[in-house]
């Protein structure tokens, strides 16, 4: 029988526990170790390109934590619900890491010619003649030039960040203002956040679609899939949610989070994770099935690059980490309600995102296309993203510490103090 009748009180001090500083120190250690390894590996591989490829992977991963946070923040404003209040402050902290992601983007834009084939090949006809690319690539690069060009990449990239920055700025600013306001104005704030977040989600999905076409899909200029943007949006939610649950669970070892995190909401967050696990496999499988059935040369090649030449087991493991493990674990009610076990599932989910991003990016480069083999450069896919995520974490813990970890003046706060039930 679960504990049913007990009253709780909200602690007076709602600021982040001191442990966050410890975590930050640990993140700094991780960053240093991976950075050193990355440099040492460069000495062995003599490949600056490998660093850049790893960098792109690290960028996509950090981006998914930042923008996943922003998307979930807007979703919880629009949908309401107690779980939203619980994770609101960590989500805000995630969204505020946008500047560091922008800095991470700059090397990609600067060394664009070393990463994207359409930027490297300025004269497709000539390149085709010289045997550098095939006819399909030459056609695609020439045809898509009005969109895929270096100036456009820079301008769009800056616009993307500006748009995300505007939403991040206001959502964070208002949230702080709401804390100092009285409960009387709850309704006013609620509407204000809804009015920004609703259109915000529309803009978000469009901008993110553009972003994933620019940064990931265009790695192979011949390939296209209209669902890719959608998949990318879901991937942000998948990573963002797993990460924020991890943060909340870690915070709940200390005051004040231990007072507000109930089993009921933890269970809800677990269910939400389950929903993202399902949504992700739904998208991934639908895209695969449609392209597999159509079997058209300009589409199927993308998959062939990623399942032949040793990449098959990687794709299989991707499926295992991304769906099989989290799905069967999250089916269990006990796992969703147990802090340690749920945290482990979230770690698996985050690891799956890393694995998937590698599988998505690496086979796009000619040396690795449909040809998985060990090189020293390959290790940069571990070291560079590792160091970047460490850096991101340092920044994240700093932003997390800068505010109270529980938002105030929300009617749900009272409800979180009530007792809970088994079914809920």
């Amino acid at each position: 029988m679960e504990e049913i009748h007990h009253s709780r009180t909200l602690p007076a001090d709602l600021s982040a526990p001191a442990a966050v500083l410890q975590w930050r120190t640990r993140a700094a250690g991780v960053t240093a170790v991976f950075a050193i390894l990355a440099v040492l590996d460069l000495l062995l591989s003599h490949s600056f390109d490998a660093i850049l490829h790893g960098w792109l992977m690290g960028l996509i991963l950090c981006l998914s934590l930042t923008l996943g946070g922003l998307a979930l923040l807007m979703v919880q404003w629009v949908s309401g619900g107690k779980w939203g209040l619980l994770i609101r402050r960590p989500l805000e902290a995630m969204s505020r890491t946008l500047p560091i992601v922008f800095l991470m983007f700059l090397p990609i834009a600067i060394f664009i010619k070393r990463i994207y084939i359409w930027a490297r090949i300025t004269h497709p006809e000539q390149a085709l003649h010289n045997g550098l690319i095939d006819a399909m690539q030459a056609h695609a690069i020439a045809y898509k030039r009005p969109y895929l060009n270096i100036e456009g990449f820079w301008i769009r990239g800056i616009i993307y960040f500006l748009i995300f920055g505007i939403f991040t700025y206001f959502l964070n600013k208002w949230s702080l203002q709401r804390d100092t306001d009285t409960a009387h104005n709850n309704w006013y704030w609620q509407k204000k956040f809804e009015n920004l977040s609703g259109p915000g989600l529309v803009v978000y999905s469009l901008v993110l679609t553009g972003m994933c076409v620019d940064w990931v899909m265009s790695l192979d200029p011949t390939w296209f899939s209209s669902m890719f943007g959608f998949m990318f949006i879901v991937a942000q939610g998948y990573a963002g949610l797993a990460f924020v649950i991890l943060v909340v669970l870690a915070l709940s070892q200390y005051s004040p989070m231990d007072a507000v995190l109930r089993k009921t909401e933890q269970h809800d967050l677990g269910k939400l994770c389950f929903a993202f696990v399902m949504l992700n496999i739904y998208m991934a499988f639908s895209q695969y099935l449609i392209i597999w059935s159509g079997n058209l040369p300009n589409e199927i090649r993308w998959y062939m690059d990623r399942i032949t030449g040793g990449w098959g087991p990687i794709a299989g493991l991707d499926f295992l980490f991304h769906w099989v493990l989290p799905f069967f674990l999250l089916l269990s009610r006990d796992i969703k309600r147990n802090k340690t076990k749920l945290a482990r599932v979230c770690v698996i989910m985050l690891f799956a995102r890393c694995w998937d991003t590698w599988w998505l990016i690496a086979p796009a480069f000619p040396s690795e296309r449909a040809n998985l083999h060990f090189t020293w450069g390959m290790l940069e896919y571990i070291f560079v993203p590792g160091a970047m995520i460490g850096l991101w974490l340092i920044y994240f813990f700093t932003t997390l510490r800068s505010r109270n970890v529980v938002a105030q003046n929300d009617p749900h706060l009272v409800e979180l103090m009530e007792s809970q039930h088994a079914h809920a």
Binding site: I4, F285, Y288, L289, S293, N295, R333, A422, H423
Partner: protein, 183 residues
């Protein structure tokens, strides 16, 4: 089942769910185990008060999971058998064992059989349909149990049951009425 005679239990009627939960809790603490509450909508607190934790019992969930797994496996196996041995066809050069295509019907059958198992499993675990039940003999039960009254029934086959003492216990909760229910 042999025809049962005599008393089935004592039925106390309450107006509010809170009173019911208090009574159920106290009866449980007094040592009664063979009891049940009857309410016009699910009252989780009542189940907790009687020490019945369905989510921990897991009966329905297990039946559902089993049904789902069997349904999915059955369809996938059938599709594979048909496409490889029973009636192999060459469709646009795809392999005989085209698993991506087979996933879809197998998925539908997973849901179909999981859903049927959950629905019918719930009924079976509840021993429904049961058109006759002794409680329907109590006139106030039929009047209120499915609309606005809350009932607690302490059953006669509980070892602690004795008409006088049990009635006294139930009376102490200030119910609207306490009636004997005949088999």
């Amino acid at each position: 089942m042999p025809v049962q005679e005599g008393i089935y239990g004592l039925l106390a009627e309450f107006d509010t769910p809170t009173e019911l939960v208090i009574a159920a809790q106290a009866s449980y603490q007094a040592g009664y185990r063979r009891m049940d509450c009857y309410t016009p909508y699910p009252v989780e607190e009542a189940a907790e008060a009687m020490g019945f934790d369905e989510p921990a019992e897991k009966g329905v969930s297990r039946v559902c999971l089993l049904g789902g797994i069997l349904g999915g496996l059955a369809m996938f196996t059938l599709e594979s058998w048909i496409s490889i041995w029973a009636y192999p066809l060459n469709i646009a050069g795809r392999g005989k064992w085209s698993w991506p295509a087979f996933v879809v019907p197998a998925y539908e059958w997973t849901i179909l059989w999981a859903g049927l198992s959950a629905g019918f499993g719930m009924l079976a675990l509840n021993r429904l349909p049961a058109p006759y039940h002794p409680l329907f003999n109590a006139p106030n039960f039929r009047n209120g149990a499915t609309s606005d009254k809350f009932f607690l029934c302490l059953e006669a086959h509980d070892p602690k049951f004795s008409i006088a003492e049990t009635r006294a216990l139930l009376e102490s909760f200030n119910p609207v009425s306490v009636v004997e229910v005949e088999h």
